[in-house]
């Protein structure tokens, strides 16, 4: 017999969506393997953050783009049950198509009317080969697309920084540059923990933080360069 009535604290869904570049160039220098590793490495930490947060029901999925785009993990999966499936690299960079497909899924329905801001993480190492603007417009045409926390990780020097910045849409937030496997691990970990936490139950708000124009307070990203080296 339960000692107390009622159930768990009421929570809202929080959709977390990876948008991954699987173009042929991601197959060079083991980049796609590094990305698979970084996301796998981040999952237990993501699960821990979600476990400590009673206000959100975190649901994860992934979309990939190369020649066209397709849902890689289509089902919004409770983070505790989320398993990463490795991506493979081939083809071109149809990023615009991925955003259009994402926009379809952010319509209400299938999205619920009430939720926490979705977190969309775009990871790319190159330039879009299709109509990026069309996809972005479709995404921003949806209320959940506009309200989403949109972050981008640029892998290597050839990533289209300007396109990623347009995806983010806030000049105060910059794409995260990952020029090494360590930096990629760090950035992926950061978006899947610190940002995830902020989107659902922001941590203690620093007094000197300066209120931003963002609808979700994004904590300071990990320091560029290799922070561990600085300390040691």
């Amino acid at each position: 017999m339960p000692k107390l009535p009622g159930g768990e604290l009421a929570s809202r869904p929080l959709h977390f969506i990876w948008i991954a570049d699987c173009s042929g160039s991601m197959g060079v220098d083991g980049k796609i393997q590094q990305l698979n590793f970084a996301i796998r490495d981040a999952i237990p930490h993501m699960q821990k953050v979600a476990e400590d947060n009673p206000n959100a029901a975190v649901l994860v999925r992934a979309i990939k783009f190369s020649n066209g785009a397709q849902w890689h993990i289509a089902q919004p999966t409770p983070v505790a049950e989320f398993k990463w499936l490795d991506l493979e690299a081939m083809g071109v960079t149809d990023m615009g198509m991925a955003l259009s497909m994402l926009a379809e899924q952010l319509k209400i329905p299938p999205m619920s009317e009430r939720a926490l801001p979705p977190v969309l993480v775009l990871i790319s190492d190159g330039r879009p080969t299709d109509d990026f603007q069309k996809g972005l417009s479709a995404l921003l045409g949806e209320p959940w697309g506009r309200k989403a926390v949109r972050l981008a990780i640029a892998i290597g020097e050839d990533a289209d920084y300007e396109v990623l910045q347009r995806f983010i849409g806030h000049p105060e937030l910059k794409p995260l540059q990952a020029n090494s496997p360590e930096a990629l691990v760090r950035h992926i970990r950061w978006v899947s923990t610190a940002v995830l936490k902020s989107a659902s139950a922001p941590a203690s708000q620093p007094r000197e933080g300066g209120v931003s124009k963002l609808n979700v307070p994004i904590p300071a990203p990990p320091e560029s360069g290799d922070a561990a080296e600085d300390v040691w």
Partner: protein
């Protein structure tokens, strides 16, 4: 994220240069990382700040807190500053939290299932702990889910993250607090965190513990589609309306969305609900004078403990309501009618005399709460199990006056039968048994 310290390395305490060995990475937060470490063969916790957080102000604040010492042993208080040769920044040592303590998040997710008595004890301990902190001129500034733990077996609390504690009215710590717990005037940017805003956060935490729900999340919350920072600022800062505000029904809990609030609220006695109502009506309108003080929560939670009764059919804990008196309602769990056990009135206190009820020094004297020191217990007659009594566990005689006027003494170790009309003089105070 990145481990700042290496396992096996040693750090030095700043004051006496004692060596402390880093044993295990425990976790990272917004400000730094926490490790398990050993100092003079004793296990301690070591927090090490990220470079950006290792400020001179943080260091001064820690030095102040270390010099002042813990308000009570319930605080995992900074013991000593720590530095390490070759490693930037600094950290501090504090007691290690025992694994028996579980977080309020575990309660919110129903991973633990404490009794109402444990919840009331934990609430009482929290109120008492923050009273002791505030009485020293300090404020916590970040009372929330993550910083407070309790033992689900007995309600003992453990308060962590004390490095943001500051002197009230001075810009000690660097935080505004945790959203959902921040007082409305701080959310609106009109005030800085301090003792008065701690009182609001404490009330929110208590409401969460007793209702598994937020006091301002009603129909206004349902109407919000995207629950982002602007929405939170409106709900918790600009238009805060208590979900049970007797004068404003615009934000009542919505069935299907806020069921916990609807289920828990009617279970509690009126005086307890009234206190929450004041905390989230007057306490919002008048942050300086309208908030419920820690000592009021403490007294209320002590009374709440004493009003617990067990359903004779299913054993669930219910509450006697002094306001509704004799009209016992139905058990919240099995819906069968409740029957009240005998009760003891001592001044304004009412103690329900269940099979396991106990009296403590605070019931009999003007003493603070000490649940390790039992003054009396309900006991069964050894020869006749149908007769129940109150056993004197104090060191002095009680004097009882029966309903018929007969006067007798009850020596330590002996019991007085629970009979309506019996008056008990405990020495300093007198109580009477009602059925």
């Amino acid at each position: 994220m990145n481990q700042l310290l290496k396992i096996g390395m040693t750090v030095q305490t700043e004051d006496s240069a004692r060596s402390c060995r880093v044993e295990q990475f425990l976790g990272g937060g917004g400000q730094g990382e926490v490790y398990r470490a050993t100092l003079d063969d004793a296990a301690v916790a070591l927090k090490w700040y990220f470079p950006a957080q290792a400020t001179a102000q943080q260091r001064r604040n820690l030095q102040l807190l270390i010099a002042k010492g813990a308000p009570t042993f319930r605080f995992l208080w900074p013991l000593a500053l720590a530095v390490a040769p070759g490693v930037g920044g600094f950290g501090y040592l504090m007691p290690l939290r025992e694994p028996r303590y579980k977080s309020i998040v575990d309660l919110m997710k129903r991973r633990i299932e404490p009794s109402f008595r444990v919840l009331a004890t934990a609430g009482l301990e929290l109120a008492h702990s923050f009273l002791e902190l505030h009485a020293r001129g300090l404020c916590y500034q970040d009372i929330s889910f993550g910083n407070v733990c309790f033992d689900p077996a007995n309600g003992e609390v453990s308060i962590g993250d004390n490095d943001n504690v500051g002197v009230d009215g001075e810009t000690g710590g660097g935080v505004l607090g945790t959203p959902r717990f921040i007082a409305p005037e701080v959310v609106r940017g009109e005030a800085a965190p301090g003792t008065q805003t701690d009182l609001f956060s404490l009330a929110v935490l208590l409401f969460y513990m007793f209702m598994i729900h937020h006091p301002l999340e009603g129909r206004k919350e349902v109407a919000i589609r995207c629950f982002d920072l602007p929405a939170m600022t409106r709900l918790y800062g600009v238009e805060p309306v208590f979900i049970f505000d007797p004068a404003d029904d615009s934000n009542r809990p919505a069935p299907g969305y806020h069921d916990n609030a609807l289920v828990f609220w009617p279970i509690y006695p009126q005086f307890f609900r009234d206190l929450f109502t004041r905390a989230f009506t007057e306490g919002i309108r008048d942050p300086l004078h309208g908030r419920v003080r820690e000592s009021e929560w403490r007294a209320a939670l002590a009374q709440l403990r004493d009003l617990i009764v067990y359903c004779a059919r299913c054993g669930a804990e219910n509450f006697y309501d002094t306001a509704s008196g004799q009209s016992a309602g139905a058990c919240w769990s099995c819906r069968q009618p409740l029957r009240w056990p005998p009760r003891l009135h001592i001044g304004r206190q009412v103690i329900m005399l269940n099979h396991d009820s106990r009296l403590f020094p605070h019931h009999l004297e003007q003493q603070l709460y000490d649940f390790s020191n039992v003054a009396a217990t309900v006991a069964q007659h050894p020869g006749n199990p149908a007769i129940w009594g109150l056993k004197n566990l104090t060191g002095r005689n009680w004097v009882i006056t029966s309903g018929e006027g007969a006067i007798k003494e009850v020596e330590p170790g002996r019991s007085v039968t629970l009979a309506a009309g019996t008056r008990i003089n405990f020495g300093g105070v007198e109580g009477d048994i009602r059925c």
